[in-house]
């Protein structure tokens, strides 16, 4: 599954993995701004960004092909808008839409693939993201694994009872809707259970978290260096 793979990638030990999450998040923001403001016909500049991303993926020791393939998930959306732009008589804009959305996705994947989610969320929070949003993402991610495991067990149980006979799409659709309903009810119960467990350990509406991440000189240099390089490339 997608999130399992990202989780595995993020456990690496490359120089990029070691950077503080805040340095990487801010660098990503600089990259996205620089990319968004690059003129559509500046092909050489866009190619430099692509090369920079490829180099970063290799430095992070992530599988280049797999990252590039996974980033294609954005293409159906951007190509739809590109076609509309093309039909409206703006082919450069169409091309830029596809290029920029694809490079942005690669950059986001690079961040997610080099930063374990807990650190990424901690970084977002320390950069001012509302805690409630961070907590929702944190709980969603934590229980995605539990839910997907439950869903797999239920699918297996359904398959066992189907006895190998396929009774058509309608019946498998009905089985899937039943599974979804049960998963929803179980998630609801689980949420109550989690709340009880939180209360039992003294939770009283305010979340206190350990802040173990440190923003070092190396992180500052990384942020400034990469940002300066991006701005220089952009201004040509």
């Amino acid at each position: 599954m997608h999130h399992v793979l990202l989780d595995r990638w993020s456990q690496g030990a490359s120089p990029l993995h070691r950077r503080d999450a805040r340095a990487k998040i801010l660098t990503l923001v600089v990259f996205l701004v620089v990319l968004a403001t690059t003129p559509a016909d500046a092909v050489a500049v866009l190619a430099t960004y692509a090369l920079l991303l490829a180099a970063a993926i290799l430095i992070a020791r992530l599988p280049l092909g797999s990252v590039l393939l996974r980033a294609m998930v954005v293409l159906p959306f951007s190509i739809t808008f590109a076609i509309i732009s093309w039909l409206a008589g703006d082919p450069w804009r169409a091309l830029a839409l596809v290029e920029k959305s694809y490079l942005s996705t690669v950059a986001v994947l690079l961040l997610a693939g080099t930063t374990p989610l807990p650190l990424l969320l901690g970084g977002l929070e320390r950069l001012g993201t509302p805690r409630l949003l961070v907590l929702v993402a944190q709980f969603l991610y934590r229980y995605l694994f539990v839910l997907s495991e439950q869903a797999q067990h239920m699918r297996l149980a359904t398959a066992c009872r189907a006895g190998g006979s396929s009774r058509g799409r309608r019946s498998s659709f009905r089985a899937a809707t039943g599974t979804l309903a049960v998963l929803f009810a179980r998630s609801y119960e689980r949420a109550e259970g989690i709340h009880r467990a939180m209360q039992a350990r003294g939770f009283s509406e305010r979340f206190s978290l350990l802040r173990t991440a440190r923003f070092g000189t190396g992180d500052g240099l990384f942020l400034l260096g990469v940002s300066a390089f991006l701005v220089l490339v952009r201004l040509g």
Binding site: P118, R142, R190, S208, L210
Partner: protein
């Protein structure tokens, strides 16, 4: 952590009643006392009120009747203190381990107690060491085995330095080696314990006394084997010799 040494009871429950919102009467007039250093097993059928009862002790569920924990009457004002004194390990570890990393999870309780971050971190690390899990501190809970999850859940409450441990079905989902590890760890912990379980073997090896729940009432209290015999609370009614005999006859 040193257990309380005076002889006043750690937990005293008088005439406790509880009804769920759907009208199910879950507890009816329960009286119970836990003495310092005692380990008590709570036996009884599914739905007899065991888990509902232990959830009353730290005010997660609130019924009618009086509950006193370490001399403190259970009220809204005393809840934070009482929740620090009772460490509760839930049946489903996935419900208890909700933080992104093991260390964060174990530090959750101490941070809620208002302990400064550095100290909370030290307590979390020492609780993990005590549970023999220092090496998984930075792992995500979903990367752990069932046995490790259970011990992390236990470390999470040990970090709060409770005086009483409440364990709800602690051996569910554990394979025999993991169960053995957990048992050994529990035996080494000095706290008084309340163990909700169907596992009579576990009850007999840890508990000095058992109480039996039936339809929301606490109907008996006594030595574990006596209670197990009286309520026929075993998995098989055939002694081992008969089992061997029937196996021999079949083949």
């Amino acid at each position: 952590m040193t257990p309380v040494v005076d002889s006043s009871p750690l937990i005293e429950v008088r005439d406790l009643h509880f009804q769920y919102e759907d009208g199910t009467q879950a507890l009816e007039g329960v009286n119970f006392t836990l003495q310092p250093g005692e380990t008590v097993a709570l036996l009884g059928a599914n739905g007899s009120g065991k888990t509902t009862f232990v959830l009353q002790l730290n005010g997660v569920l609130r019924g009618q009747g009086s509950i006193t924990v370490c001399g403190l009457p259970l009220t809204k004002q005393t809840l934070p203190q009482i929740r620090s004194k009772i460490g509760m390990v839930f049946q489903d570890s996935d419900e208890q381990l909700f933080m992104p990393t093991v260390l964060d999870d174990v530090a959750f309780g101490p941070l809620n107690q208002g302990i400064p971050e550095e100290e909370a971190l030290a307590k979390a690390k020492s609780a993990l060491e005590r549970a023999g899990l220092a090496q998984v501190a930075n792992k995500a809970p979903y990367h752990l085995s069932a046995g490790e999850k259970k011990r992390v859940a236990l470390a999470g409450v040990l970090a709060m330095e409770p005086e009483i441990l409440v364990l709800d079905e602690p051996t569910t989902f554990l394979d025999p080696p993991a169960e053995r590890n957990l048992l050994q760890l529990l035996r080494e912990l000095p706290q008084a314990k309340l163990i909700v379980t169907h596992n009579v073997r576990l009850a007999a090896s840890l508990a000095s006394r058992a109480v039996f729940f039936e339809k929301g009432k606490l109907v008996a209290s006594g030595p574990v084997d006596e209670i197990a015999r009286r309520f026929e609370w075993t998995y098989s009614d055939l002694p081992p010799a008969d089992l061997r005999y029937s196996a021999h006859r079949r083949f």
